[in-house]
Every structure is written in structure tokens, then in C-alpha cells.
Symmetry: C2
Subunit: 274 residues, 2 copies
């Protein structure tokens, strides 16, 4: 049976494009909410979930971190998806005949200079791929949509312009999550979440457990805890696999220094874009 990969959004969303990279053999299955992706994988309705964790312009996606903590899934992979916005329209409609362009407000803002240069009116919509679907389904001849090229293919729209975002350094990091850990892989990366009491030096000692073993941390982010006041939750990525003896020893030491530690997963490491 073909495995299924759950993603949040409409068919043609950037998260579907990421799903095709992270799980090329699987059938992408759209979900309405991000929580539906986690629930679907947990319940076995999908074999894998693909969820956004960080956008280079908008920042970390806290909802995904909360869902990772609330579910017992493992991170099994990561992919940096370039967000390259296209202007899509019905085939045969030239740019000069368009008046309105539908998309998510964030995408409209990212393409503000292009829209102004072509005197196009931005119309807010729920999401990028949904805007492409709207143009196709309602056969809107005076309107375009801002979405990925992939959405154009799915809904049979033509690409009138590509890479129309003002700042091209626009990436979203997606994670794959599954019920079982990824097979051992080298080079690997490990994601953990831990909490420390808010005393000076608590985090310093945790980082010491990594630094003294020359383990490279590739991400560190703190958030105030929601349950215990003055306690902090840290999300960290480090190079190496949690089963590597050196990493395992470091994590054992970290566990002794923290009020809480969970290994979210070890998975193949990919190089950051650009």
C-alpha cells in the first residue's frame, strides 16, 4: 500500500511541495489544521507528517513546537523549502488584463513592490494555494493568484511571473514527524527540548555539557514556560546522533542539569540554504 504523508493546507501548498521532497514515494494528504497532521500520524491515518517549524522571514512557528511537545512523535527529517512566489492566472490571460490578485496577506505583503509596479490590487485570502484553486474553480478572468509554481500545475494555471517576492531569501524549514525514530544516519542532527530553572548559569552549565565535548549547537531558542512561572523552555539542535557515544554522554549530563529533557529526534542533517 502506498504510504501517506499528511500536510496542512490546500493541495498545491508549499507544505505539499516539501512533502514531495521529504517523502517522494508517499501520497500527500491535505489536512485542515496543523494539529490534524499530528493527530493523523499518531492515530496511524498517515505514516508521516510534514510540518513547518521556521520561516526565514516570519520566524519560528511556536504552534509546531507546542504540538511536538503534546505528541509522542519523532522528528525523522528536515527540508529547507524555498518560498518562491509566482503570479498565476488562467491560461491565455496576459498580465495586462489582470486587475486583482488573491493570496494570503503575508504573501501579498512579500510581493508588495511587484503588485504596485503592475498596478494590481491585492485581495486577502486564506492561503496561497487556495487562491489558485479559487481562480481555477470560479474561472476568474480578471484575477491572478500568488502561490508556488506547484499550485499552478495542480489547478491548471499559467505562470505569468516567477520569483516576484521583494526579498528572495525566503525559506521555510519543514520537519518530517513519524511514530518511529528514523533509521541511523550519518551525518545526523539531533533536536531536543529542555527546561531549566530561571537561575543565572543554568543554561550555561547545560551548554557546557555540549561545549566540553566539542558538540556543535546549530540552533538555540528560549521561550517562557507556560505552566511554571520563571521556568524557561529551550529548543536546541546539535550536530550528531543521540546514539553516538559522545552525544549520548552529553545528553545524559544535560538530563541531570535540567528539570525536563526530551529528545525530539535524530535525523539526517541537510546543509542550510545559500
Amino acid at each position: 500500500m502506498t504510504p501517506r504523508v499528511a500536510f496542512q493546507g490546500e493541495r498545491g501548498a508549499y507544505s505539499e511541495a516539501a512533502s514531495r521532497v521529504l517523502a517522494p514515494q508517499a501520497e500527500p494528504t491535505p489536512c485542515r489544521l496543523l494539529g490534524d497532521v499530528f493527530d493523523g500520524v499518531t492515530a496511524g491515518r498517515a505514516d508521516l507528517g510534514v510540518v513547518p517549524i521556521e520561516n526565514s522571514q516570519a520566524g519560528s512557528i511556536n504552534e509546531t513546537y507546542d504540538l511536538l511537545l503534546a505528541h509522542a512523535l519523532h522528528i525523522t527529517g528536515e527540508h529547507d523549502q524555498r518560498i518562491r512566489h509566482c503570479l498565476l492566472a488562467l491560461p491565455g490571460r496576459p498580465l495586462e488584463r489582470l486587475r486583482r490578485v488573491f493570496s494570503h496577506p503575508q504573501a501579498l505583503a512579500q510581493c508588495d513592490a511587484f503588485l504596485r509596479a503592475h498596478r494590481l490590487e491585492g485581495v486577502p485570502a486564506y492561503d496561497t494555494a487556495g487562491s489558485a484553486k479559487l481562480i481555477a474553480e470560479q474561472h476568474l478572468t480578471d484575477a491572478g493568484a500568488i502561490a508556488g509554481a506547484h499550485a499552478g500545475e495542480i489547478y491548471g494555471l499559467a505562470v505569468l511571473a516567477e520569483g516576484i517576492e521583494t526579498n528572495p531569501a525566503n525559506y521555510t524549514k519543514f520537519l518530517a514527524v513519524a511514530r518511529d525514530p528514523a533509521p541511523h544516519h550519518h551525518p545526523a542532527k539531533t533536536s531536543v527540548v529542555f527546561t531549566t530553572a530561571n537561575v543565572p548559569g543554568a543554561l550555561y552549565r547545560v551548554l557546557g555539557a555540549l561545549a566540553s565535548r566539542s558538540i556543535n549547537m546549530t540552533k538555540l531558542e528560549s521561550r517562557p514556560g507556560r505552566t511554571v512561572p520563571w521556568e524557561y523552555v529551550f529548543y536546541a539542535d546539535m550536530e550528531g546522533h543521540a546514539d553516538d557515544p559522545v552525544v549520548a554522554a552529553a545528553l545524559a549530563e544535560v538530563g541531570g542539569l535540567c528539570t525536563f529533557l526530551r529528545i525530539l529526534g535524530s535525523y539526517p542533517r541537510v546543509m542550510p540554504p545559500g
Copy 2:
């Protein structure tokens, strides 16, 4: 002359509500883009800017961090603004007569359970306050808007329901930025940005400069640098004023360990929301 405080968004936006807390004597002045707020303060068209830096659900707002780095302004204050969504409509229109509700897609998603329970159709719009303005200006009798209570007052709409978001722990942290540093204040908080080479232990040594002096860090976040590959940019908040001798000594040591260090500002510390 009345001082002016610039904020991004329509009149009645949550950022205007935050502006009234951070600068009660000033005249709030709406700006179209976040960059316009920074440009306006830099050029002297406004005395203060109020900008969102982090939302408890959506995470850090990287665009604001980028703008802080690109401008020579000082952080002079912070405020945690509760995001409490209201259903607004023309006065005299009962909830049962509404069919559609306009708002930003994120606000619609946050109030999804309420909308479903009342069989209301969500309609995406550019922003929350702009939706309230639309209802009032176009005198839409079958439509409501999701926005803050403050937007209702400004556009003469009635509040049909308050606190309709599914998760009430919804706060946005706003910063005040100005051309001059804030007057000395106790207790204070200091925000800095620094870069380290991506070698194991670089961050560890930086945190050691704080920990060895019992300086409490209240936030730490890393982002990959955009210019030099494998270099990391860290944003950190700590307790204390940059002029306090202990903090000043720590920052001098940090400066020697980093490839770049900038003090974004020292300002009055407020307690995080319960």
C-alpha cells in the same frame, strides 16, 4: 507640541492599543509598513515607534529584528499586550443575524471554534482593525469583524462577544523604539544582538561572561546569519542596565568574545504576563 508615536496598521489595531500604554501622552500615528515606523522615527516624523517583537502563539517576528539591526534606534520600553479578540458588528445587529465575519486569517483561525459553533463564515481580510473599519464604512448589516474592543470604539461598532479566541494565552510583546536611549531606570532589562563564529563553545563562553557575574538571561534566540555562512546571530535579553558596573563589565567581556556586539537598549523591566 504633542509627541507622536508611530505604529504599523489601521487605527484600532492591537499595536495602537500597545502605543497608548507605552506612550500615553503621545498621538498614535498609523503607518502602512513596519519599515515605515522605523523610518519615521529615524527621520524625526515621529518621536517614538511601537513595534511587535514576539507573539506567544506565532513566535518571534524576524522582520522586526532585521529592522532593529538596520536602524540606529534604541529600545526604550516593552509591553505585553493581551490579544483579546472580540466579535464586532453594527450597533443593534444581533449575533443571529450575522452570516459572515471579516478578519485576518490568523485571527479567524484563532477563533475557529467560536465561528463554527455559531455557523459564521470567516472571510479573510488584511488585518483585524481594517475589518472593523470595513463593516462601519460599508454599513454591512450581515457581517461582523474580529478585532480588539478598541477597534470597536474607534469605528462605532458594538461588541457582541469578547475573548472569543480558543486559546486565551495570547500575548504580543511590543517594543518602544526612539532616537535616544531611555532615562536610567531600575529594575532594568538590556537587549543585545551578537554574532559568534560557529565553533563549539563560542556561545558557551559568551554565556559564561554573564553566568560568572550572576546576570540572569531572560531570552536567548539564535538565527543563522544572512551574510556570512556558518555564522550565527544571537538575540539576548538580560536583567540589569548596560550602565550597571557588573553588566557593563560582562558586556565588555562579551564584546571581546564576539565578532559583533550591539546593545539595542536598556529599558524598564516589566513582569511577563501570568
